[in-house]
């Protein structure tokens, strides 16, 4: 009887312990998910420049704009709306739908009342991560440190009318009532004008360029199959987003197809399958890519500015860089997304990373961009 009471007491005690542990663990998990790292971080006092910046980053991660803005040392210089627009974008863009994945704080310089801190914000989006680096001045006020936010005000486009000669293609496909011999609209004719397999990073990379040689727009994909000497297929992959999928007449896109864990020595031949579908598309917007430069260094990039020459806001822009050596041979293709919307006639910077060993061989480069506007197809 005594042993039974003891067992009941032990079970009850264990239950209480598990409930407490579970509840506490859940709170920790929620806080961690909110980007806080741990619950105690939320309660950290801004008693050092680093702590003040970390608190701010935590608040940004939680999208607690009110708290983040109210703790800034220079909030009199801009409104909370400006602050939110700086981080989330004024127009719908990748930035608007991004969540802060992680951040790191790097003190640069500090004195008794003033410090310079670099804040690296790594934002997560559907097309991958992008890095937002801010160099912050942190000032001491009494026993607290406050961050001076370097506001980046997104330009606003003044009300105006921009005339555009709108050009688009619409398609009427074959109907079920048509005679069996009636041909459907012809798929656009596309052609691979360049292709090179490269052994790289423990895998094979297929680089190439595809031309739409037709007079209609095409939705294109490129698939490649590596074949062994006995003609058996080793692997099949496609270009996924390392290509501009919508090609207007006579437009050329680079493409890159990656095969992991395959040695080029295993490959006897490559079977390329470009495919194209006729789609309804628009010829606008036109985007100029200016100030293109290859920046050598430890982390080479192709940088430049995108200038939307049309009158419509571009929500997402994808930049593809094609790199050639001094013999004119294609040696690499890289890509990147621009996280801010492209406003009419407003330059937006971009940078596409290039592998250091490739960058040293680049003689010339070409950038192309594809765009997505939420209020229109393409």
């Amino acid at each position: 009887m005594t042993s039974g009471r003891l067992l009941a007491f032990v079970i009850a005690l264990a239950t209480v312990v598990l409930i407490v542990a579970g509840t506490f663990g859940q709170v920790q998990s929620v806080l961690a998910k909110a980007g806080a790292g741990s619950g105690t971080d939320l309660l950290r006092s801004p008693s050092s420049p680093q702590a003040a910046v970390e608190n701010l980053a935590d608040e940004i991660a939680r999208r607690d704009w009110d708290t983040a803005y109210s703790n800034l040392g220079n909030k009199s210089e801009f409104t909370e709306t400006d602050f939110i627009r700086d981080l989330s974008g004024s127009y719908s863009s990748l930035r608007s739908h991004a969540s802060l994945d992680s951040f790191d704080v790097r003190p640069q310089h500090a004195s008794a009342d003033d410090a310079q801190v670099r804040l690296n914000l790594r934002w997560s989006t559907v097309v991958g991560m992008f890095l937002d680096t801010r160099d912050l001045r942190v000032a001491r006020t009494g026993d607290r440190w406050a961050v001076m936010w370097p506001i980046v005000k997104e330009p606003r486009v003044p009300p105006q009318v921009i005339p555009v000669n709108y050009l688009r293609w619409d398609v009427i496909y074959r109907g079920s009532e048509d005679d069996w011999g009636a041909q459907d609209v012809e798929s656009p004719h596309v052609r691979i004008v360049d292709m090179h397999p490269v052994d790289r990073g423990g895998g094979v990379v297929i680089l190439g360029e595809l031309l739409n040689e037709d007079v209609v727009p095409a939705f294109v994909t490129v698939k490649a199959t590596l074949l062994a000497k006995d003609e058996s297929a080793i692997a099949t992959e496609d270009s996924f987003d390392k290509i501009s999928h919508i090609l207007l007449p006579r437009q050329v896109t680079p493409f890159l197809i990656e095969f992991h864990n395959v040695a080029l020595s295993q490959v006897d031949s490559v079977h390329m399958q470009p495919s194209s579908t006729l789609i309804a598309a628009s010829a606008d917007p036109v985007v100029e890519i200016e100030d293109q430069q290859l920046n050598l260094g430890p982390q080479p990039t192709l940088s430049g500015k995108l200038l939307n020459q049309s009158g419509q806001v571009v929500n997402v822009a994808h930049v593809l860089g094609t790199f050639y050596d001094n013999s004119g041979q294609l040696i690499w293709v890289s890509d990147g997304y621009v996280e801010r919307a492209l406003l009419p006639e407003t330059p937006v910077s971009f940078a596409v990373s290039v592998p250091p060993d490739i960058a040293s061989k680049v003689k010339s480069e070409r950038a192309v961009t594809t765009t997505y506007s939420s209020n229109r197809f393409q």
Partner: protein, 289 residues
């Protein structure tokens, strides 16, 4: 359908085996019958029998009186092919066969490929015509098919081809002038038409002009045409590239109203080039040498 037919033939075979020895004599069948036409089968003997006619996608069963003429009405048999006739009498089974051939041409299907191609392409258009009768049987009897490709200008191209096993085919050249061409195949007074879009070919002698426009350069191509003088269609992408001291600017511009125009930054000594697809145009050096 196939299993049902097998089952039916099995039944016929069983019935024939059981009735072996019944009084019947020879069947008189036509060698060929045109689809949809009436015909008759002459039987001999006396007594009752069952007539089965088994053909492609069609089986007929008739109770008949031996010794009489069995008539089949127009439209009873309309699928062309080889037919087997089995007459199951009281004590014996007779069989025979005949062919049903297609009736007169009543329909024509033209398959034309491609539906869109560049101008001035020799043998670039293929046309295949299939001749059918009113019951959609392929007409195997040779017929003369006239193909005609008529464009927006020039004399139409015409070919006359004899069908082989119900099919006639030919190749045509695309015209030198762009536009929709009517591709017609005709047998007697039956015709089928397809539309072939003849589009301009690669641009020829692509040229641009550059002038200052405030702080920038206004760049505009001359009207872009192919080597036959056809205007390259609007929407075709023209790429302008400007290479200046340490930098580069590019822009892909669609042709609108026959020309591509854009603005680019003005740099002294910059080189501006123009291209469309894999065709290069002229190059302009801006400002001082």
């Amino acid at each position: 359908m196939k299993s049902k037919l097998t089952f039916l033939l099995g039944l016929i075979w069983v019935a024939g085996t059981h009735l072996a020895g019944a009084q019947t004599s020879g069947l008189r069948l036509p060698k060929t019958v045109q689809a949809g036409t009436p015909f008759s089968i002459q039987s001999a003997g006396s007594g009752k029998a069952v007539l089965y006619i088994v053909g492609p996608a069609q089986v007929l069963r008739r109770d008949v009186q031996l010794g009489e003429t069995i008539s089949l009405a127009a439209g009873d048999l309309h699928n062309a092919g080889h037919y087997t006739v089995i007459l199951v009498g009281g004590s014996s089974t007779e069989d025979g066969a005949f062919d049903v051939t297609a009736a007169q041409p009543a329909a024509l299907s033209l398959i034309a490929k491609p539906s869109r191609l560049p101008v001035d392409l020799h043998g670039g258009i293929s046309g295949v015509a299939y001749i059918f009768d009113t019951f959609q049987n392929l007409v195997l009897q040779p017929s003369h098919v006239s193909f005609q490709l008529a464009g927006v200008a020039g004399a139409p191209q015409t070919r006359t081809v004899l069908t082989q096993n119900g099919v006639a085919w030919t190749k045509m050249n695309s015209a030198s002038k762009e536009g929709a061409a009517q591709f017609v195949a005709r047998v007697g007074n039956i015709a089928d038409t397809r539309v072939i879009q003849q589009v301009p070919g690669d641009p020829c002698s692509l040229r641009m002009n550059v002038r200052a426009s405030g702080q920038r350069l206004a760049i505009e191509t001359e009207p872009v045409r192919d080597c036959s003088g056809n205007a390259v269609p609007d929407g075709t992408i023209v790429t302008f590239t400007e290479i200046y001291n340490g930098g580069e600017a590019t822009v892909d511009v669609p042709l609108k109203r026959g020309v591509a125009r854009t603005e680019m930054p003005a740099y002294e000594g910059a080189t501006i080039s123009v291209a469309t697809g894999v065709v290069m145009g002229n190059e302009v050096r801006w400002g001082k040498e």
